[in-house]
Amino acid sequence: MGKTIAEKIFDAHLVDQPYEGVNVLRLDAVFCHEITTPIAITDLMARGKDRVFDPSKIKAVIDHVTPAKDSKTAEQGKILRDWARRHDIKDFFDIGRNGVCHAIFPEKGFARPGYTIIMGDSHTCTHGAFGAFAAGVGTTDLEVGILKGVCAFKKPETIKFVLNGSLPEGVYAKDAILYIISQLGVNGATNRVMEFTGPVIDAMSMESRMTLCNMAIEAGGTVGICYPDMVTVEYLWPFIKDQFADKAAALKEYSKWISDSDAQFEQVIEYDLSALVPKATFGYKPDQVKSISELEGTPVDQVYIGSCTNGRIEDLRVAAKVLKGKKIADSVRAILSPATPAIYKQALSEGLLDIFTDAGFCVTNPTCGACLGMSNGVLADGEVCASTTNRNFSGRMGKGGMVHLMSPATAAATAITGTITNSLLFKG
């Protein structure tokens, strides 16, 4: 019988099965940020275990609150920084070179097909876009990852999604994943691998695939995963060109990380997305999703474009296209946070930042910022934000605030009118 991509990755990384169903896997990379890692570091120190299994496999970034906003966040940054220096962790990204973890790590080529990756961050599933088994974990698992380079997983069942057709104009990966989550529910894929396949995925850029996999956790999924293909190879080529004779050779090698046709899936779910319409959330759970036409006219106080879901160059291009030559409504304030310095520079050189600032956006440095309500755009009680982030939990962007999750195109259109708006209104 054939195997799924997750099963193949498990087989290739298995270190131990201490009990039935418990698989201790060797890790190819451990990613770290300054919110969940410092407490792991402090705990390891208190246990007399201030060690790292392999500094070259640990990647660290200060991204959630940067520049530090107060003494506590400064302390968190300092603990991570000192630790990275102490253990000679070369891939450490501090202010000026830092960006949102799930944007900057892939951009540096750290996520690869067939890899096992953990991070103390639930949206680590983003890196599955590269055909990696990348899962969010808590602090204790992170500590063990740092110390020993292993992590224990139960072997998850796989739900395979076949996304047929092609996305219509004005509809993006964000709309697709919001739709999928609304169908599954926030608990619909708990302990499951969500495999995304089909013509819609084949036609997607790596950026869009990352948007899709990023939100697997919002349906409870352990990981979201796409099969590596030529799009993956092209994206990774600058980092792997010395490893392979040519791109075809790389593709051949990476193609081993694809589910076999006779693999056993718990479920295969097919959607035809040719008639999909733009979507947004309306409540405090990511599965509370409506079509934009049903939400049209809902006033917002703030528009936020950024985050590990939709702060990449493709997202900025889409939003800028809608905003070009327009002004945001007087009733809203709008914030753009390009996810990494490279994206910031690219947007600058393409003139996108001019479009945003001319429209009335505030452009911040790369950071998580408002996404988790820690800085750079926290909402007041009763305020509403149209946001390209991934989580609309109560209090997420500030106590008493309401977040509508949507695509960058919809967010841009919403900034112009001040109420939730279909971006097709401003096409052309």
């Binding site: 201490p18 608990n187 708990t190 956790i217 309500g373």
Partner: protein, 174 residues
């Protein structure tokens, strides 16, 4: 190893997420103890009063998908520093569940019907529960009513609870 059991806090809702258990703004704390006052601060549940309802509770009984959302281990820690070492639910989000056992705490899953029964029999009364981890038995009691419920914890999870968590276990073994 913790001692498990005690007074029960009933939370009659599914999908209680990690931001409700401990809001992100407290993630800048670098000690567990500092999280104590903020447990369930943002919980959306009619009639719930944080200070009054959490006081002197050692066990939470709730519905499905408890602990969904973020990976923050601050969620079990916030429970831990309030003396709550056991959560009993119809189901848990994966990361939260693993975090509980990794910390040497207990996440117990029971079938939906059993959870229904517990809510209908006991919520609203001052309820306590005895937890016998080795025998897999829960004994609920309130106002002279008692109810015994059996449960299962996977051997590996049991081992983690006994070892006091995963760090020492893994460091010795791998």
């Amino acid at each position: 190893m913790h001692t498990f059991g005690g007074n029960v806090l009933f939370l009659d809702r599914s999908d209680i997420n990690t931001d409700e258990i401990i809001p992100a703004k407290y993630l800048t704390e670098i000690t567990k103890a500092a999280l104590k006052p903020y447990l369930l601060e943002d919980l959306i549940l009619e009639g719930f009063e944080q200070k009054r309802d959490i006081a002197d509770k050692q066990v939470v009984v709730t519905r499905a998908n408890f602990g969904c959302g973020s990976s923050r281990e601050h969620a079990p820690w916030a429970l831990e520093v309030n003396g709550v070492y056991v959560v009993i639910a119809e189901s848990f989000a994966r990361i939260f569940r693993q975090n509980m056992f990794n910390c040497g705490m207990c996440a117990i899953e029971l079938p939906a019907e059993t959870i229904d029964m517990l809510f209908s029999q006991f919520s609203g009364s001052a309820t306590s529960v005895k937890v016998d981890l080795d025998r897999g038995e829960l004994n609920f009691s309130a106002d002279g009513k008692t109810e015994a419920v059996s449960f299962q914890v996977a051997p590996f999870d049991h081992e983690l609870v006994k070892a006091g968590g995963w760090v020492d276990y893994a460091d010795t073994k791998y």
